[in-house]
């Protein structure tokens, strides 16, 4: 029955809803319910009482619980954007949080400078490469250090966002919504997979911490169950573990995002009926123009008309004299063997 419910939910809401919202909510709602029953009447008694319930009452309770969990999961799912931004370091404009944000941005800046110093002091090329690749993955590029974020996750995602602009002049925020519909399902699936893992880990991190922060004070103030208190406190290290996993997922997601821009940016140019630029400078100018066009409505220059295609069979005609000349230049023995 549970498998059927999961399949139905997956079919209706999608895999990302199931993983990133429904399962975390189900897990922590189940744990909270068990804890509540254990504290108020004992889990064994509650289970015995459950066994004695009529089938209709059980069905109603199960249906009510499933609906409550789905609604809570849907709320969490809708809040994913806010949750990710919170973990990235986009915090409310409160004085204390502004101070914390500035302090942490300064800390990451110092770390970047520390790594830079290490790279300058490094003895071998391998060591320098390792340090610089860490800087590239975990921090914004050197000429965008003013865009440093107050969290590790925020800096990883920021580095991935800046990459297309740094390489090709692509404004990811403007171009991504137009590029996304052109991606092949397998490319999109890979990207969604990484994103789902990231949001799942962040949901788990948030709920684990919330579980500890709610239940530990309740148990400490209202009961003397220190054993349950210690069990609930384990949500705290679990939240840390989930955040570390989310950081790793963000690295993988960032890599995938970079690869998507590297491989598929020309698909968007073709779809927009724009010429493929011949070199990096021309491409940068073209993307900057497109960015301005989409974002500020500045008109695009009309592309130069393409040269007419060569006549059919032209390549063969052009290659024939070259083949003839090549044959003539061979030694006579080789020509006889042929």
């Amino acid at each position: 029955m549970f498998a059927t419910v999961l399949q139905e939910l997956k079919g209706y809401f999608g895999r990302d809803f199931l993983l990133a919202a429904f399962l975390p909510i189900l897990l922590f709602a189940g744990l909270s319910l068990m804890l509540y029953l254990e504290v108020t009447q004992g889990l064994g008694t509650a289970l015995a009482g459950w066994e004695n319930l009529p089938t209709l009452a059980r069905t109603v309770v199960i249906a009510g619980t499933v609906i409550a969990v789905v609604v809570a999961a849907y709320l969490l799912y809708n809040g994913q954007y806010v949750i990710v931004r919170l973990f990235e370091g986009y915090w409310p404009q409160i004085r204390a949080l502004l101070w914390l944000r500035n302090y942490r941005v300064g800390l990451y800046r110092k770390r970047w400078e520390y790594l830079d110093h290490l790279a300058q002091q490094a003895g071998t090329g391998t060591e320098i490469n390792e340090i610089q690749s860490e800087q590239l993955v975990f921090y914004p590029p050197p000429n965008h250090l003013d865009q440093m974020m107050p969290t590790r996750l925020g800096n990883i995602l920021r580095a991935a966002e800046i990459y297309p602009h740094e390489r090709y002049g692509i404004d990811a925020a403007v171009i991504w919504p137009r590029l996304r519909p052109l991606l092949k399902p397998e490319t999109l699936a890979l990207l969604e997979d990484r994103k789902t893992t990231l949001t799942f880990m962040l949901s788990m991190c948030l709920l684990s911490a919330a579980f500890s922060l709610v239940w530990c004070p309740v148990l400490a103030l209202a009961t003397d169950r220190w054993d349950l208190f210690l069990l609930c406190a384990l949500g705290w290290p679990l939240a840390w573990l989930c955040y570390q996993n989310a950081v790793q997922s963000a690295v993988a997601y960032g890599e995938q995002l970079r690869a998507t821009f590297d491989l598929h940016r020309h698909d968007l140019l073709r779809a927009l009926n724009r010429p493929i630029p011949a070199d990096a400078d021309a491409e940068r100018k073209e993307w900057l123009r497109l960015g301005r066009f989409f974002y500020r409505n500045l008109p695009l220059p009309v592309p130069a008309p393409a040269s007419p295609p060569p006549p059919r069979g032209w390549e063969r005609v052009a290659e024939a004299p070259a083949d003839y000349l090549e044959k003539r230049s061979r030694p006579p023995e080789e020509q006889e063997q042929r």
């Binding site: 015995a48 400490a220 009961t223 003397d224 220190w226 210690l230 705290w236």
Partner: protein, 197 residues
């Protein structure tokens, strides 16, 4: 001499783990040793099995932390003595009201056997049958030629519960008439009837 610079420390990590490794054990210790006013309660002196009639000898008085006492907790020994247990009661643990049932007549449970019979909605009177009820038991043979037999005029319903295979009614059948019950209920449907008062 070329000194290697130290990486900048993140106090957030210290704060995070400090909270876990210092505050959590301290609060747990405080919880374990806090002096809550104990309440003297009657509790089972030993593990009691289901459908056991509680006597004064089965009980002792134990000090239980006040926080563990709820509105459902039985605080008076007289509310336990003479009642029977619906489920196994662990030793020295407070008893809740739902775990024991009053017996209308001690004779109905003395020298009886707990016998479970499969039940449907009609047998349990549409859900109205409760532990502690007194019912008449009749058997209706499957063969139409044989007449129904009224076996017992008053039998105590020990429990009505949901088992894996369906609903079950547990009756206190007099041990002396156990064989008669077996004989007459073979190839017959057991019917329960409660007197309307």
């Amino acid at each position: 001499m070329n000194t290697r610079p130290q990486p900048p420390r993140d106090p957030w990590s210290w704060l995070y783990w400090g909270l876990f490794f210092v505050v959590v054990p301290l609060v747990a210790l405080w919880m374990a040793h806090q002096s809550t006013p104990p309440v003297n309660l009657p509790v089972p002196a030993r593990d009691l099995p289901p459908y056991h009639i509680i006597t004064a000898g089965d009980l002792i008085t134990a000090s239980i932390p006040a926080r563990r006492v709820t509105a459902e907790t039985v605080c008076n020994a007289q509310d336990l003595i003479g009642r029977y247990t619906l489920q196994a009661l662990p030793a020295e643990q407070a008893v809740r009201r739902g775990q024991v049932v009053a017996v209308p007549d001690p004779a109905l449970i003395t020298d009886t056997l707990a016998v479970a019979i499969p039940a449907d909605s009609a047998t349990i009177l549409g859900g109205a049958l409760r532990p502690g009820d007194v019912v008449a038991v009749a058997v209706v043979p499957i063969e139409e030629a044989t007449a129904p037999v009224r076996l017992f005029d008053a039998v105590l319903v020990l429990d009505v519960k949901q088992a894996e295979g369906g609903k079950v009614v547990v009756l206190a059948i007099p041990a002396a008439r156990w064989e008669e019950y077996l004989t007459k209920s073979r190839n017959a449907t057991v019917m329960l009837a409660r007197r309307v008062e």
